[in-house]
């Protein structure tokens, strides 16, 4: 399959990419690994008239420890590079999720920045980043800003990123105290995308008296875009019961319904995944 023709610009530096984006029109798209963008261009669901290729910007690649113990992950870091990095896989849910994303070849090309920018309603990684309290660092020729991921997604394939902005970095705060996490998903067998996926982080502050006083539950495959299930989080904090929390996984959300899973089935599936993810997180540290 061949996409429609487009104008191709290769950026040799972040500044050059930002200059190209500054003159971008709505038909301009940024190309990183291309594993979300190129397939939809081939089927012509996307018809960009210009691509800005940032794939060679090594300054956007790699994982660095920040002064406060958090991590700075360059937007072009691939899933394979994340999977090979112990600073990343120390997070239990990232160790769970990374080997399940795509396959070896896809993980060699797909990037964390691309996953965040694309806002696929069923992608695995964004739900995990949501519960890790990730921040998205973006730059434009006008300057830069840092956006909490919880206010970044706007809907399917839609975010608050402006046309002249480039995601340069994803930041994860340091994991502190008693910290447990897990990711569980029911995949659509052919595509591997989540029909229903749940990422959880729970924790106890020191001297918290044995109760979990921190709970984050992120859900993918179910709503218009990955979301935090606040009602389920509140229920888990008050009862500590995974099943009771799971019953609130879709409160206030219009659950997706399609040929792979209708609304009722998908609602049942996500409750099971939330319960299993919470149970798995309770059982392990990290």
């Amino acid at each position: 399959m061949t996409s429609l023709a487009f104008d191709y610009r290769r950026a040799d530096s972040v500044d050059q990419a930002l200059a190209l984006l500054a003159e971008a029109d709505p038909g301009t798209k940024v190309l990183a690994g291309g594993h979300s963008l190129l397939p939809i261009m081939k089927t012509r669901l996307a018809r960009p008239d210009r691509l800005i290729d940032i794939g060679r910007l090594n300054e956007l690649r790699g994982v660095n420890r920040l002064g406060d113990g958090g991590l700075s992950i360059g937007a072009l870091t691939t899933y394979s590079e994340l999977l090979a990095n112990p600073a990343i896989t120390v997070y239990g849910l990232l160790a769970d999720v990374l080997p399940t994303i795509g396959d070896v070849q896809v993980r060699n090309r797909g990037t964390i920045g691309g996953a965040v920018a694309h806002v696929d309603p069923a992608a695995d990684l964004p739900a995990c980043l949501l519960v890790l309290d990730a921040e998205v660092v973006v730059r434009s020729a006008r300057g830069g800003r840092t956006i909490a991921l919880t206010s970044f997604f706007e809907g399917a394939f839609n975010s608050v990123l402006l046309p002249d902005e480039l995601i340069t970095e994803i930041r994860l705060p340091a994991a502190s105290g008693d910290y447990r996490s897990a990711y569980r998903a029911q995949e659509q067998p052919a595509s591997g995308y989540a029909l229903a996926g749940a990422a959880v982080v729970i924790g106890r502050s020191t001297g918290g008296g044995g109760r979990f006083d921190r709970a984050a539950i992120g859900i993918t495959g179910v709503g218009e875009c990955p979301y935090r299930a606040s009602a389920a989080e509140q229920e888990f904090l008050s009862s500590g019961d995974p099943a009771a929390a799971a019953a609130h996984a879709t409160d206030g959300v219009l659950v997706a319904s399609d040929i792979h899973a209708d609304r009722e089935y998908r609602t049942a599936l996500i409750r099971v995944q939330v319960r299993r993810a919470l149970e798995a997180a309770i059982e392990r540290v990290g």
Binding site: L31, P39, D53, P99, V104
Partner: protein, 166 residues
Amino acid sequence: MAEHVTLVVNGQRREVDVEPRRLLVEVLREDFGLTGTHVACDTSQCGACTVHMDGQSVKSCTVLAVQADGATVTTIEGLAAGGELHPIQAAFWEKHGLQCGFCTPGMIMSAADLLARVPDPSDQQIRHAIHGNLCRCTGYHNIVAAIREAAVTMHTGSASDSGIVG
């Protein structure tokens, strides 16, 4: 507007002017005549088009030729040295790791990628490594056996003599 692309393919420097929308697999097959790399699904699902780009396995139906500019690419044609089958190719032959053969070039390139990273993989690691390569004939059993056999050959320089398939 055409872009000038330079690649090293199977050890040979190649230059070509391409339209930006052309895929790496199209350039390999149509411009360089390397038709061992197959196209099946053309949607990055099946892995028939797997090649190595700068030492990593990629699906060449989902890489633009312009993205590969400057890269070193190895295709199935680049594996056999001096007319001798590569140990992975020999093991696929020996263990009957193919039937129709359409998926085989991609399957072997994925196996080569695995064995370069993990010289002595478990069956589970082998199956995980070929997750992105679909075969509609074999049921995968003999493919896994072939990769296991190739790992032994590449370790010791000779095939195991069990004679048992699977």
